[in-house]
């Protein structure tokens, strides 16, 4: 049965256990003689791109795979899609080992690698998609139905007869997404799906991904640098750095534990000379408008306060006219995690 994993789970669609991938990076000698020596003896150094990663993904999940450049994201995706063979570890995707059953495996997945085009450069979009129909042996009725649906959601109609080489970056991504889904894959792998796109194009792609995940139940695994993608799309986040899995859980949980401090802007009814309050620090003052910074226990030695506690303390001491609370940016949180290696200490 599909999904009957090696370690007894029936439900997971992706199972990864203790995955390792090492690369030998060859040191190149320069010059004519160097090239000759490169051919015979090559010095190399070992790079651990993926260094013991385990996780499982249930059908229908939409998972974000995050990490800085060179963290091992693309390597993992390439292993899951069957392009690369790992050094060690076990991977089962929809009941198959990707690199052992390459053709059966790729017939059931869809993949779009950001800024890599998989359609025929000189052909109009519609003819490219038609070739995919033959490659994936998609029954005519299902092809028609999927094409109609993608045409309306992605707005393919406006460039269906344009040669692929003349498409804008956003159109190219839309066409490639449609191409990756025509054969109703169980899983969709996206590597940087919104890279280089403008705000409107990004939003369109995100809506489409959400819809495919919700309405078709397609499991989606995406890598991205754009935390907007993550906030908008992902229920669950896997964060890796230096080939190791640092965090696996809800985005909100990540934010709660590692988010920077929040800010509260209070507008007082009158101007106070020194409107201090325990648990918060004043970081800005402009007449009766005062900005406080406060945080929860994880960030403050004194235990911290919640927003409602802080508001209660303020209103007990001063006369308030207006209030607003600013959440820390998720980008900020993630940057802090990487820079200060917050997760490494756990």
């Amino acid at each position: 049965m599909a999904g009957d994993g090696l370690w007894g789970s029936m439900a997971a669609i992706v199972e990864v256990r203790d995955l390792h991938k090492e690369f030998r990076v060859f040191l190149h000698r320069r010059g004519g003689l160097g090239a000759l020596r490169n051919l015979f003896s090559r010095q190399h150094r070992l790079v651990r791109a993926v260094d013991g990663i385990s996780f499982r993904i249930e059908p229908g999940e939409l998972v974000g795979y995050l990490g800085p450049n060179g963290a091992g994201k693309s390597t993992t995706i390439k292993i899951l899609t069957g392009i690369l063979v790992p050094t060690s570890g076990e991977v089962v995707v929809a009941g198959r080992v990707p690199w052992r059953q390459r053709r059966e495996h790729v017939a059931r997945i869809g993949a779009v690698f950001g800024q890599r085009n998989s359609l025929w450069w000189d052909l109009p979009v519609i003819e490219s998609l038609d070739l995919l129909r033959h490659i994936y042996r998609i029954p005519a009725a299902r092809y028609r139905r999927n094409l109609d649906e993608f045409e309306s959601i992605l707005g393919l109609g406006e460039f269906l007869s344009t040669p692929v080489r003349s498409l804008s970056l956003g159109q190219l991504m839309r066409a490639n997404l449609a191409g990756a889904l025509l054969h109703d894959p169980d899983i969709l792998f996206l590597d940087e799906p919104t890279i280089g796109l403008d705000v409107v194009a990004k939003e369109r792609i995100r809506q489409f991904i959400l819809r495919v995940n919700r309405e078709r139940g397609t499991t989606v695994i995406l890598t991205t640098h754009d935390l907007g993608d993550v906030e908008r799309l992902c229920q669950r986040v896997l964060m890796i750095d230096r080939g190791r899995l640092l965090f696996d859980g809800q985005l909100a949980e990540l934010q709660r534990r590692f988010g920077g401090e929040r800010e509260l802007v209070a507008e007082f009814a009158e101007e106070y000379p020194d409107p201090q309050v325990p648990g918060a620090t004043i970081v800005g003052r402009e007449g009766p408008r005062v900005t406080y910074r406060f945080g929860n226990g994880a960030q403050r030695p004194d235990g911290g306060v919640t927003a409602s506690e802080l508001i209660a303390r303020l209103s007990a001491r001063y006369r308030l006219a207006d209030l607003s609370v600013r959440e820390p940016e998720i980008e900020e949180t993630v940057r802090r995690i990487y820079e200060q290696r917050l997760l490494d200490r756990e």
Partner: protein, 268 residues
């Protein structure tokens, strides 16, 4: 059958996109035709001066030359995807990764990703030389010879195609060896266009026993031209062309599979 239909469909795409640039296609075609015609004229000039090469007259050498040219041109067109220069680009630009993501056999995808139609120019020139040669050499045609000719032609295509295929596979390790491979394929055509017995022993042994090039061109030609083997080897050697061609393809395919596994291990 299904694979063949898919192959033809994909090749059709390559051909049509070349037709989009019709003017450039026609100039290319004329250019190759003209360029190769000059090569042949210089060959003819050699004969005008010396009368024969290693005891072979113009018609007989032209037979070899025409056969090799037609075979190489056809191969260069059909195996365009495995042209090492093209294939190394495919790998470097990540298009080979895209092929790994398609549920279709990899050689089919590579072969159908490029189909250089303008090689027809070189083929046409080879054909003209070949037809001239057949007249000049006064070949005594039999049914057996007529049946064997396409087999030899196919073997020549398979032989050179295998060299391309092997050459492309080395791109999984290094692109630095590319020039060395090109010496074999392009140099091979030049060499095979002359009778083998004019070369030194070591070179002849290399191209008979190690890389069985003379089995697909020289020995079959002895049979067509009704010439005895100057080295007194058995006549059966003339009929080993398909065996040599098929063996080279099998070897190339085995090496290719090994190369793909290496690529998937390193992802260079």
């Amino acid at each position: 059958m299904r694979s063949l239909r898919l192959y033809l469909r994909l090749v059709g795409v390559c051909v049509r996109s070349q037709m989009q640039y019709k003017a450039s296609f026609l100039t290319d075609l004329a250019g190759t035709l003209f360029g190769n015609a000059i090569t042949f004229l210089s060959l003819a000039a050699v004969f005008a001066r010396f009368g024969s090469v290693g005891g072979w007259r113009l018609g007989e050498v032209a037979f070899l030359y025409g056969l090799v040219e037609m075979g190489f041109a056809t191969m260069d067109m059909v195996f365009s995807g495995y042209d090492p220069g093209y294939f190394s680009q495919l790998v470097r630009r990540g298009q080979f990764d895209q092929m790994l993501l398609r549920p279709v056999a990899l050689p089919l995808q590579v072969l159908s990703s490029e189909f250089t139609l303008r090689r027809l120019g070189r083929f046409a020139q080879g054909l003209i030389v070949f037809l001239l040669a057949v007249r000049l050499a006064g070949i005594h045609w039999t049914v057996a010879k007529l049946l064997y000719l396409p087999v030899v032609f196919g073997s020549v295509v398979a032989f050179f195609g295998s060299l391309f295929w092997i050459g492309s596979t080395t791109c999984f390790w290094t692109v630095e060896a590319l020039e060395a491979i090109n010496i074999f394929t392009y140099g091979g055509t030049e060499m095979l266009a002359y009778p083998m017995h004019i070369y030194d022993d070591w070179l002849r042994y290399l191209f008979t026993y190690v890389i069985p090039a003379s089995l697909v061109v020289y020995y079959p030609a002895l049979y067509f031209l009704g010439k005895p083997d100057p080295f007194g080897l058995p006549r059966a050697l003339s009929f080993l062309a398909p065996v040599a061609g098929a063996a080279m393809l099998l070897l190339a395919n085995a090496f290719w599979r090994f190369g793909v596994r290496h690529y998937q291990g390193t992802g260079t």
